[in-house]
């Protein structure tokens, strides 16, 4: 396959796993990332990675059970064949990571230790302390460094993807390369490839403060969308129940804190001013345990978040504010040691010692279930995907793939904890093979006219010049800038389109986004230097985030039902008849409009059922149950 190349954009878990698999098939890879890949957002993941294992299996768990939990957790919105394949492939991924040297926690006999996670009654989460994502990312980063050393990978770190280059239209459209910018020299240039993998992660920054890294703008996905790639289920944004709010971001307190036995509570008496340690057990309202006796603190995130949110809105939050306790103080030192990574974050940023006092937490935007639309090719019986088929996780553009958090494929309307790392690596390894096969089966892109590439570069240069020079005919506001616009967008999106949504509030947010877009059109940059110009890169991303924000609001407005993370107060029930469908947005560049359509969900294997995780009634005033539920 001489001269043929693949571009991977993004060096988080998905991009690195793809790079490893694609180079293994003999193709050279050009790997692009705005940050050195070792600093990608995946490094933040704390709790772990799910897979069926021998211990759980002998207790009655199976890959099929993992599949069923994921579908149920996602409120039946995920197409089932990809989830089936992923959950059945999962044990192989753990074995491979183990061979790569990931320091998974061990049992006394030296086997891999396991912990409990949300949405499951079995221990099936593998972990390395409370910094699992960091450890997995490093293992893959090391394998990619090895291939870099062998000359099979060329890294373009501190390079930013600006757009895909697409030849032909409709069914004939094929991605032939990308336009990217060197963030030091600010040079913009085109790169040719036979296939391009987008692995650019989530879009937390659209909501301002989230648990995500500062680079998770979603701009790369928005740029694909702008150029004709479809975007699916954008309205499904996961708000994680337990984070610590900060001035610059919300820091996650991983679900593993509850998986290891942490308990969520508030005082039963409103505005109880006693120190938490002085409040006796009977006067604490363990509302998750009381409402969900079976799953307790480990109900899925959408549910835990709504419960915490409701408790606070009803004035029952700690000190009457927006916070509840996440209590680990009753756990033995050996258990807490496994959580050191996050306990350090808490004491460093809040100043209290979570070994001694309960942590104060509140929900925060965390993950995007939605993302670039991708196709999949099921096996004839729908039990999994056809291995190696070039169609796996390819977008609607030939040769353009989307892997990891940036696609929409595995988590339906709500992702289960510790399934994201799995889906990222699964995409890279399983669908990476599809990329290699696509390149093998298709003509090289050498015949693409240079003029097409040049035009794409010219287009991006013009976009940049417009930001530097300001609007045609002047009229920019010297006191406005992209940082201010992005901040207002984040506040508005968090207020309108996260835990509780209504038609009226979403409409209001659309008006606000339109006003921000108008301000954006008049921007002029303070910094016009053609060297390491960060504010230029941020301003450009802000324009792309506004586009994504608008699309998220529109799809949320159109989905008149409640499902998983998408809760419409004006349509509180799930409506399978009308909305057991994937929402697909297509951007019409000529008219600047978003076109929304729906696609059937493949539910061939598990029929949708009621999803309430065994909820029962409980109020702060109901009597405390005699004992803690068995699970926690």
């Amino acid at each position: 396959m001489a001269d043929k190349r693949v571009i991977v954009v993004g060096g988080g878990l998905a991009g690195l796993a793809a790079t490893v698999r694609i180079t293994e098939s003999g193709l050279p890879v050009d790997l692009f990332s705005v940050v050195p890949v070792k600093r990608s957002h995946s490094v933040c993941a704390q709790g772990g990675i799910n897979a069926c294992n021998e211990v759980a299996r002998q207790q009655g768990y199976s890959e099929y059970e993992h599949f069923d939990e994921t579908i149920y957790g996602g409120d039946f919105l995920a197409d089932q064949p990809p989830v089936f394949e992923m959950t059945h492939f999962a044990p192989k991924i753990i074995d491979l990571l183990d061979r790569m040297g990931v320091p998974f926690n061990r049992t006394p006999e030296g086997f891999r230790d396991l912990r409990l996670f949300g949405g499951s009654l079995y221990k099936r989460t593998h972990f390395a302390g409370a910094t699992t994502g960091q450890q997995l990312l490093y293992a893959l980063d090391e394998q990619v460094r090895r291939r870099e050393d062998e000359g099979r990978v060329t890294k373009y770190e501190h390079w930013e993807f600006l757009r895909p280059i697409i030849e032909g239209q409709g069914d004939q459209a094929r991605c032939v390369g990308i336009v990217a910018q060197d963030l030091r020299t600010m040079q913009i240039r085109a790169f040719r490839a036979e296939a391009v993998v987008m692995a650019t992660g989530g879009c937390g920054l659209v909501f301002g403060k989230s648990t995500n890294s500062i680079v998770c703008t979603g701009a790369a996905a928005a740029r694909c969308y702008r150029h004709g790639v479809w975007y699916a289920n954008g309205e499904f944004i996961q708000v994680h129940p337990t984070a610590i709010p900060g001035a610059d971001k919300c820091r996650l307190m991983s679900e593993s804190a509850r998986g290891e036995g942490g308990r969520v509570w508030v005082p039963r008496r409103q505005s109880d001013t006693r120190h938490p340690n002085d409040i006796p057990a009977g006067e604490r309202w363990y509302f998750l345990e009381e409402k969900y006796p079976k799953y307790g603190n480990l109900v899925p995130r959408d549910i835990a978040t709504r419960e915490i949110f409701k408790v606070c809105m009803d004035g029952m939050g700690v000190g009457g504010g927006n916070q509840v306790y996440l209590d680990l103080t009753h756990l033995p030192a050996s258990t807490l040691h496994k959580l050191d990574g996050i306990l350090e974050i808490y004491s460093k940023f809040v100043g209290d010692d979570p070994h001694k006092v309960p942590m104060k937490i509140f929900p925060a935007v965390h993950y995007s279930m939605g993302g670039l639309w991708t196709r999949h090719v099921p096996k004839a019986d729908h039990r999994g995907l056809e291995p190696g088929n070039p169609g796996q996780m390819m977008t609607n553009i030939g040769g353009l793939y989307a892997f990891g958090e940036v696609n929409f494929a595995y988590h339906g309307a709500n992702r289960l904890g510790a399934n994201a790392l799995l889906s990222c690596i699964f995409d890279g390894l399983f669908c990476g093979q599809s990329v290699a096969n696509f390149v093998r089966d298709n003509a090289p892109t050498g015949a693409t006219p240079q003029a097409l590439l040049d035009a794409a570069v010219a287009d991006e240069s013009a976009r940049q010049d417009r930001l530097i020079r300001g609007p045609e005919g002047g009229g920019s506001d010297p006191n406005d800038n992209a940082y201010l616009i992005a901040r207002e967008m984040g506040e508005e999106m968090t207020a309108a389109s996260t835990v509780v949504k209504t038609a009226a509030r979403l409409q209001q947010a659309l008006t606000k986004i339109a006003a921000l877009k108008a301000r954006y059109a008049r921007l002029r940059l303070d910094d016009t230097a053609m060297w390491t110009n960060q504010s230029l890169a941020f301003a450009r991303a802000t324009g792309d985030m506004l586009l994504l924000a608008e699309s998220i609001l529109l799809t949320g407005l159109a989905r008149k039902e409640s499902r998983g993370s998408h809760y419409r107060e004006d349509f509180p029930d799930r409506n399978d008849a009308d909305f057991l469908r994937t929402s697909v947005s297509k951007f019409d560049a000529a008219g600047g409009t978003h076109q929304l359509s729906y696609q059937e969900v493949d539910t061939a294997l598990v029929k949708p059922r009621v999803r309430n995780y065994g909820k029962v009634e409980s109020t702060a005033k109901s009597a405390a149950p005699a004992r803690q539920p068995a699970l926690t």
């Binding site: 933040c44 061979r99 040297g101 926690n105 460094r145």
Partner: protein, 274 residues
């Protein structure tokens, strides 16, 4: 259910402002200068939130309009290693540097400078390519056969896992190199292979030599650490271990690799295999 804005309560503490002095530089080879900004601080503010405020309000305390400062960051929770800088003369992560600790009183001043051991790209942002290059020098990876399914990896005791895990939390932040008297700036990549490799990569060599499959490359790692710029260049000043934010036992790693290199040299002298 009540519809409201899910923003969390903020801890109470009085609004105040501080002065932030930033060492600025427009690019490699350009002169450096200081600029000061008067910044209102929110409770819980850190250096990053202060820099974000300055970027949105880029006017110096003298009323001069300027460009937003440039800095490096990622995770904002001290796990990615991006945001290292010199804060009040001490190298550390800026995301975990809280204003209430650094400048507790109204009007206090904080000084921000880029690291000095790496070339400055612009303002507070430096180019740490050499640090990643040094990971290649010691082949910091496990040489697996391939990614196709071959069963699990070697079993491991919890004690050994604990040692490897600690070493493996190194986030390539560069604090240990900034603090090390033996690690000096080297702008020329051609000279990197023979200049002092530093505590960070020495410790990573130890990490991979500890792994059952990783140690297949032990000889090559020890060769790399035996030559010029290897472990013997360490002057044992121990500055590195004092500044490591991940509390990695760097001096232990240096001692362990020092012994291994000596043994390796003796064996090589007598033509014995490791």
């Amino acid at each position: 259910m009540n519809n409201g804005t899910p923003t969390a309560s903020k801890p109470r503490s009085a609004a105040r402002s501080i002065t932030v002095r930033i060492k600025r530089c427009d690019g490699p080879g350009k002169p450096a200068r200081f600029e000061s900004f008067k910044v209102p601080v929110e409770p819980g503010a850190n250096i990053i939130s202060v820099l974000q405020w300055i970027a949105a309000h880029p006017t110096t305390d003298g009323g001069q309009r300027t460009t937003p400062p440039v800095w490096d960051s990622g995770c904002l929770e001290e796990v990615c290693g991006a945001c290292t800088m010199v804060i009040n003369g001490k190298v550390r992560q800026s995301c975990s540097a809280l204003i209430d600790d650094l400048a507790p009183a109204e009007g206090d001043t904080i000084t921000l400078e880029p690291m000095t051991k790496f070339p400055v790209m612009r303002d507070l942002m430096v180019d740490r390519s050499r640090l990643f290059h040094n990971l290649r020098r010691v082949k910091a990876w496990v040489p697996i056969d391939g990614t196709y399914n071959q069963g699990s990896g070697p079993r491991e005791s919890p004690e050994k896992q604990e040692v490897r895990y600690t070493l493996s939390t190194c986030m390539s932040c560069g604090c240990c190199l900034e603090a090390c008297p033996q690690f000096t700036p080297e702008p020329d990549p051609a000279a990197w292979n023979t200049s002092f490799i530093g505590a960070h990569a020495i410790s990573q060599a130890r990490l991979f030599n500890l792994h059952d499959t990783g140690k297949e490359l032990a000889t090559q790692r020890l060769d790399a650490l035996s030559g010029p710029g290897g472990v013997s260049d360490c002057g044992n000043a121990q500055n590195c271990v004092k500044v490591c934010p991940k509390k990695i036992p760097l001096t232990e790693s240096i001692a362990a690799m020092g012994r291994a290199v000596t043994l390796h040299g003796v064996k090589r002298f007598f033509g014995v295999k490791d």
